[in-house]
């Protein structure tokens, strides 16, 4: 059974104007899958629709075989789906500790134990747990955002452009951390602009164009696929 299965999903902010137009994708247990694609391809909308933040107009989403289509975001958290938004993904007015503590109160996680596990996974956060999240550097803020999403011990973690606004070195650190997270048994689906970094850690990837997946394959194959470069250069995948 797939960890996450997206079937012919149609979603968008305005009725009658779908941004995701029948996209399908499966993520197997403990896999890292990257969704790539040019600007405006609907990558973020796709992941937000799965997370319950954008209305779904057609298609289905299955989380470990259970239909979760159209469930509100807050319920999905309790069902084992973690989501890291691209921006404003930590409570800037709260300390690191309060961010994690709040998340633990909401999902009713065994607080002490779960926070200890997360601090072990993110030693940088453990060292400065009283620091306001708003004062963290970009890389550490992203680490906190990931840790926050992991508090409820999700089966599937989704990330919207985790590399956005980070220097190449920090992108490397954050992505290495994602590999560590995967080793704890978490399945990962990420949306990325940074093709190279994403393909370096992903098992498989899908290239989304105009709201539909155009190419799906093993990350290593996609890295050398001339069609991927074409799609990014604005040919939109149409053969002239």
């Amino acid at each position: 059974m797939s960890a996450l299965s997206i079937e012919a999903l149609e979603a968008g902010y305005e009725p009658g104007l779908p941004i995701v137009r029948g996209a399908s994708l499966t993520v197997e247990p403990n896999e890292i899958v990257a969704v790539l694609g040019p600007n405006g391809a609907g990558k973020s909308t796709l992941i937000k629709a799965v997370a319950g933040l954008v209305p779904v107009t057609a298609g289905r989403v299955l989380l470990q075989g259970r239909d979760i289509t159209g469930r509100p975001a807050h319920r999905l958290v309790h069902e084992g789906l973690g989501f890291v938004p691209q921006t404003e993904n930590v409570f800037v007015n709260l300390s690191i500790e309060d961010n994690l503590d709040l998340a633990a109160s909401i999902v009713r996680a065994p607080k002490k134990q779960r926070l200890a596990e997360l601090y072990a996974l993110f030693p940088d956060l453990a060292r400065q747990r009283r620091l306001l999240a708003g004062r963290l550097s970009g890389g550490q803020r992203q680490m906190l955002a990931v840790a926050r999403a992991l508090v409820g011990a999700p089966k599937v973690l989704m990330l919207d452009e985790p590399s956005a606004g980070l220097s190449p070195k920090l992108v490397g650190l954050v992505f290495e951390k994602l590999l560590e997270v995967r080793r704890t048994g978490v399945t990962i689906l990420l949306v990325e602009q940074n093709v190279k970094a994403a393909l370096a850690i992903a098992d498989r990837a899908a290239v989304l164009v105009e709201g539909v997946e155009r190419i799906v394959g093993r990350a290593g194959d996609l890295a050398n696929d001339p069609r991927v470069a074409d799609l990014y250069l604005g040919h939109n995948g149409r053969v002239a």
Binding site: A51, G52, L53, P72, A73, H74, R75, V77, H78, F83, P85, E88, N89, V90, F91, V92, N93, L94, L102, A103, S105, I106, V107, R148, A149, G152
Partner: protein, 305 residues
């Protein structure tokens, strides 16, 4: 002097209770609810209706010494708070929730202004425009400070009760916001609604809690105002501008700011009476408001945007 300060604190505590609801609704829903004043009026009149009901069933009440009212008023206050919370939830379901989905902030503000007019006229239609009182008992004020010390101080037991209950409610609210999961969820939602929902917070539930708390405090403030002054259909509307002044002065969105703002506005109104006369006292709240905003544009407890 002391008397003016005491009067200011008593007016201020009514304003503070009202301003908390206004500031909470703003912090969660991001709009200024002009209908909030009517929750005070409705709360006050609903309590009056409940009181008449109690008297009709149980006969005339004997006041609890030394107050001007008996147990029925306290029960009526509880009933009125519950029904006012229902009124606020109904208004949200009928109007604000629909507009939140597609309207802009200005749509919500204008809608709340319209709702305020409807609520006030419905109330006046039901109850009439003649002022009413919870009790016709004459209360003897207690002299707390003799006349030769700073002009002396006399307060009625009712006024002391209003002050005491306000303090209790503010402390209870503080504990709720800092200690309970729902309270923390409310704070998180005010900081970042979308992040709150992906953290597992049911934002709709938080919104309902916000309306309930705001309406309950508004009903209490309305009853307090009715108890210490009188019941009039304009009770809430007349308090609306001081409520906004208090909420903005304290830093809109901040509960503690609303309490501090309420006290400052109450004191400013009361202390200005001998200086400019009672007709202009409402304006002094705004002079203080402007002065504070010039120095601190985010208000006393406001967070930087």
């Amino acid at each position: 002097m002391l008397q003016l300060i005491a009067n200011g604190v008593i007016i201020g505590s009514v304003i503070a209770l009202g301003a908390i609801g206004l500031t909470l609704a703003y912090s969660i829903l991001r709009f200024a609810n002009f209908a909030h004043g009517e929750y005070l009026t409705w709360g006050a009149y609903l309590a009056w209706t409940a009181l008449l009901g109690f008297v009709a069933v149980m006969g005339p009440m004997t006041p609890i010494e030394p107050f001007s009212f008996g147990w029925p008023l306290l029960l009526s206050l509880v009933l009125a708070a519950v029904v006012t919370a229902g009124l606020a939830l109904a208004l949200d379901a009928l109007l604000f929730r629909r507009l939140r989905r597609r309207g802009s902030a200005i749509t919500l503000i204008m809608a709340s202004f319209g709702a305020a007019l409807v609520l006030r006229n419905m109330l006046q239609f039901t109850y009439g425009a003649v002022p009413e009182y919870y009790s016709r008992e004459i209360q003897v004020a207690i002299r707390l400070v003799p006349r030769d010390v700073l002009g002396g101080l006399r307060v009625t037991p009712d006024q002391l009760l209003v002050l005491g209950l306000t303090v209790v409610l503010v402390i209870a609210l503080h504990l709720f916001l800092t200690r309970t999961t729902l309270g923390k969820a409310m704070r998180a939602t005010s900081l970042n609604p979308q992040l709150a929902s992906v953290t597992g917070i049911d934002v709709d539930r938080v919104i309902r809690a916000t309306w309930i708390i705001g309406a309950v405090l508004a009903a209490v403030a309305g009853v307090f105002s009715g108890l210490t002054v009188q019941l009039r259909p304009q009770l809430g509307f007349d308090l609306l501008l001081p409520l906004f002044a208090a909420a903005i002065l304290g830093g809109i969105g901040s509960v503690y700011g609303a309490v501090a703002g309420g006290l400052i506005v109450g004191l400013a109104e009361s202390l200005s009476v001998p200086l400019v006369g009672a007709e202009y006292r409402a304006a002094t709240a705004f002079v203080v408001l402007i002065a504070i905003l010039l120095v601190r544009p985010t208000g006393l407890f406001g967070e930087k945007a």
